[in-house]
């Protein structure tokens, strides 16, 4: 768990072939800021404080973070129109994100987010 209240620790799990876009690694442990720029810009930290518009980190911010910092290839297979591409399932602490407010879910320290592609065949 994070000891610093300005950041939070998250466990990320990719499955169903989505891991192929993320260095072929299923499990990732990441740290993100607790408060993030409202425009989902992941390259500045809010400590820079030049940008006044901030909000608590939510799943939408996390998706941008994953795209900007962990994704290695073919961004278009991961995100579309500011959210995951249709056909990618998201679970928040093992619950369908559709029951948790989808991208608007406010992340908590220690949350586990699972992203599974259904688009890969057999």
């Amino acid at each position: 768990m994070s000891t610093d209240s300005n950041t939070m620790f998250l466990k990320i799990e990719f499955g169903g072939g989505l891991e192929l876009l993320f260095s072929n690694q299923r499990s990732h442990r990441i740290t993100i800021p607790s408060t993030v720029p409202a425009d989902n810009n992941t390259s500045v930290t809010t400590k820079d404080a030049a940008s006044p518009a901030t909000r608590p980190a939510d799943v939408t911010y996390l998706l941008h973070h994953l795209r900007d910092h962990l994704l290695k290839e073919r961004e278009e297979l991961f995100m579309e129109n500011g959210t995951v591409r249709p056909g990618i399932l998201v679970l928040i602490n093992d619950t369908d994100w559709e029951l948790e407010g989808e991208g608007e879910y406010l992340l908590k320290d220690g949350d586990e987010i699972v992203l599974i592609s259904t688009l890969h065949g057999g």
């Binding site: 192929l20 249709p86 890969h120 057999g122």
Partner: protein, 354 residues
């Protein structure tokens, strides 16, 4: 958002939103409704009778892995009295199928079912790797599709099974309905939603997941921690299906019932008798005994083209004429072993019953 309670048991925390109905249900109730719906699909269509020998077409992917697990469970829970087998086709694609076959081999242990692997190399003398090196990446899916269909039937005949079940799900079927509409393929549109295709004396094929959403299959595999393999075929995927798939996923995102609605539309189409009459009568391939709508079946035609170094002769009429102009097939041409259906009877078949 406050946690919701399960719409079915009213006790546990809801963990899945069902795409078909919008219901919010807990994990245990989700397992129960998913399994029960597949059971209802099976019983309403009278797919099996006690004593049937049934092969599960197993690729190691999510659909067939969940199918094997659920078929084994339902067979025990409802005493179908089936003898179950796993049947895998090894297309000979290095780095793709060899990995997924390892998953099938683990499934064999986990589910305690006999496994038969039949390779293109063994049956046709050509791996997909070898075919692609000759034909390139443009038409290789035609070869793979035709060869796989026949290989599954032949593998089933070797296992002496009556029936093959495949993991085709609701999303796959809705995609096929859309593709047949876009291509104007009315004959296929009329039969692509059938749960079971069957010829007389040949091996039945059915799709117990016909009404199961891909989302629920993947959720089921995830919650049950089933061991499956997922990757893309390294050769160019079926681009046309890819477009239909993206379109369907966009529709589903806007309105989740779209998938089941498209299947219902497909089922409701009535193909006029005049259109059905234009469909070719099925006969038996002169060379290999497999069912065919021509003197030579499609697999024999494709194989002859490969063997004679004119692979496109199975694809375009122009290339076929060129092949024919070079004379008849030589006597020493490699051919597919003669097909013997499990019943041992003559193979006179139609592709489907409506």
């Amino acid at each position: 958002m406050a946690p919701q309670t399960c719409a079915i048991c009213q006790k546990a925390k809801a963990m899945v939103k069902r795409p078909k109905t919008g219901e919010q249900i807990c994990r245990e109730c989700f397992f129960y409704v998913f399994e029960t719906e597949v059971h209802n699909t099976i019983t309403q269509a009278n797919l099996f009778k006690p004593g049937d020998r049934v092969a599960i077409g197993a690729s190691g992917g999510k659909d067939s892995t969940v199918l094997a697990y659920v078929m084994k469970m339902l067979n025990e829970r409802y005493q179908y009295g089936l003898e179950l087998f796993l049947l895998s086709i090894d297309e000979g694609i290095t780095g793709y199928r060899d990995d997924s076959l390892e998953t099938v081999k683990r499934n064999q242990q986990q589910y305690d079912m006999p496994l038969k692997i039949l390779s293109y190399d063994e049956l046709y003398g050509w791996t997909m790797d070898a075919i692609v090196s000759q034909v390139g990446r443009k038409n290789n899916c035609t070869f793979c599709g035709v060869f796989r269909r026949q290989a599954l039937d032949r593998g089933a005949a070797m296992l002496n099974v009556d029936h093959i079940v495949t993991g085709h799900n609701a999303d796959d079927i809705a995609e096929t309905v859309l593709m047949n509409i876009m291509r104007g393929d009315i004959a296929r549109l009329g039969r692509c939603t059938s749960i079971c295709t069957q010829g007389e004396d040949t091996i039945r094929r059915s799709k117990p997941f016909k009404y199961a959403y891909e989302k629920e299959i993947v959720m089921y595999a995830y919650f049950k921690k089933l061991d499956y393999f997922s990757t893309e075929c390294i050769y160019s995927p079926d681009a046309y299906r890819g477009h239909a798939r993206v379109f369907l996923k966009d529709l589903e995102a806007a309105r989740p019932s779209a998938i089941i609605d498209i299947i219902h539309s497909g089922e409701a189409f009535e193909v006029r008798e005049e259109v059905k009459a234009t469909q070719r009568v099925q006969q038996v391939c002169q060379r290999c005994g497999y069912m065919s709508s021509n003197a030579l079946c499609k697999a024999c035609t494709l194989l002859e083209g490969l063997e004679r170094g004119m692979a496109n002769s199975g694809i375009t009429d122009r290339a076929r004429k060129k092949l024919d102009a070079e004379g008849p097939a030589p006597d020493n041409l490699r051919t597919i072993p003669f097909f013997k259906p499990p019943s041992g009877g003559p193979l006179i078949a139609i592709e489907s019953v409506s």
